[in-house]
Symmetry: C2
Subunit: 206 residues, 2 copies
């Protein structure tokens, strides 16, 4: 990987990165042409090979970068130092949405990478992305304390409901290519508000 890639002005470098995210998330690794990435980034294929010595290097760089930028965003959005369950959930969604502003296809790219089957890639992807750090495993760590919720509520079902609804919403928008981060954030805020009122012990407040 050539150093000059990092000396590039941000907008030009991001254009290449986003082109990579887009192409690799639309096709399989093997069926993703370097030529298409170059064209979409507005540079020649040769130059792309000047920055990255081959396709594999570009792909793995994008993997690393996607993880890096996600973690960075999680920290900036201070996702963890909230104690209210609904606030934590919302801040997690905000990160996803915020990231889409800069990298619309990042989340799809990560998902595809997670399921990529290419033999010579699989081990390295595992090393980079590791366990999928989605929401579904966080149920326990989110401090679900029964006292705060309505009587007789099935907390597990509540969590699944919220998790799947969020995923379903995001997935539909991505499929529709209807990516409007600000609208998404508003939708999520409204959705969380709906749930908070529905699930909380005292729903006559607010």
């Amino acid at each position: 990987m050539n150093d000059s890639f990092f000396q590039l002005p941000d907008n030009k470098r991001n254009k290449i990165i986003n082109a990579g995210f887009r192409v690799f998330s639309q096709y399989t690794y093997k069926k993703s042409p370097m030529s298409e990435i170059a064209a979409e980034a507005g540079i020649s294929k040769s130059l792309l090979f000047y920055y990255f010595k081959n396709k594999k290097e570009l792909y793995l760089y994008l993997c690393r970068y996607s993880v890096e930028v996600t973690q960075q965003a999680m920290i900036e959005q201070n996702c963890y130092d909230n104690e209210d369950f609904f606030d934590v959930f919302l801040s997690g969604l905000k990160v996803k949405v915020q990231l889409m502003k800069s990298y619309p296809e990042l989340s799809v790219f990560q998902l595809k990478a997670y399921y990529e089957k290419d033999k010579e890639l699989r081990p390295e992807i595992n090393r980079l992305i590791g366990q999928y750090s989605g929401f579904e495993n966080q149920a326990d760590s989110l401090g679900l304390k029964k006292e705060k919720f309505a009587d007789g509520l099935d907390l597990e079902m509540m969590y699944k409901d919220m998790y799947y609804a969020s995923e379903g919403y995001l997935w539909e928008k991505l499929q529709n290519n209807d990516i409007d981060p600000d609208k998404m954030e508003k939708d999520f805020v409204r959705m969380i508000g709906f749930w908070r009122k529905l699930y909380s012990r005292n729903n006559n407040e607010e």
Copy 2:
């Protein structure tokens, strides 16, 4: 399209159809190789071209067939002659799940077809699939009568919650290649039960 294709025994014909669904739903139309479909169906590429005169004909046949078989299932499951909102919703989900038993990739195929961008295919796909007949437009026609639900409930949000959660669930299972129709149906029944209790006016019953 050769008649002999229809004279095939069901299992052999379905093997070809499912191979087509799988390949076309994994890749774009253009990047879906006839050879891969043939191999997965256990026949020679030549024979596939004996049944269908070219790739386009096979693809469009699969489009027609997917619509046909879906409508058939909707009728058999008598989706429409139910009056309770939750029952209607559940029967719709049951159709999807039931279809997966015979054609695991059908729903993904239809979705991909809906978003396929190939120029010479686009108009014909529109003619065959038409408006996407998902759940999201059915909200009004499902007879949502306020009296039946809890006080002050935002019915639109309730519907969106249920719709997106179902989509999110299905989508995750499809991505994970974790397709177990019976388990899915049980999950849906449980989920609908949760919602019914949560949203209904008298939730002390049941």
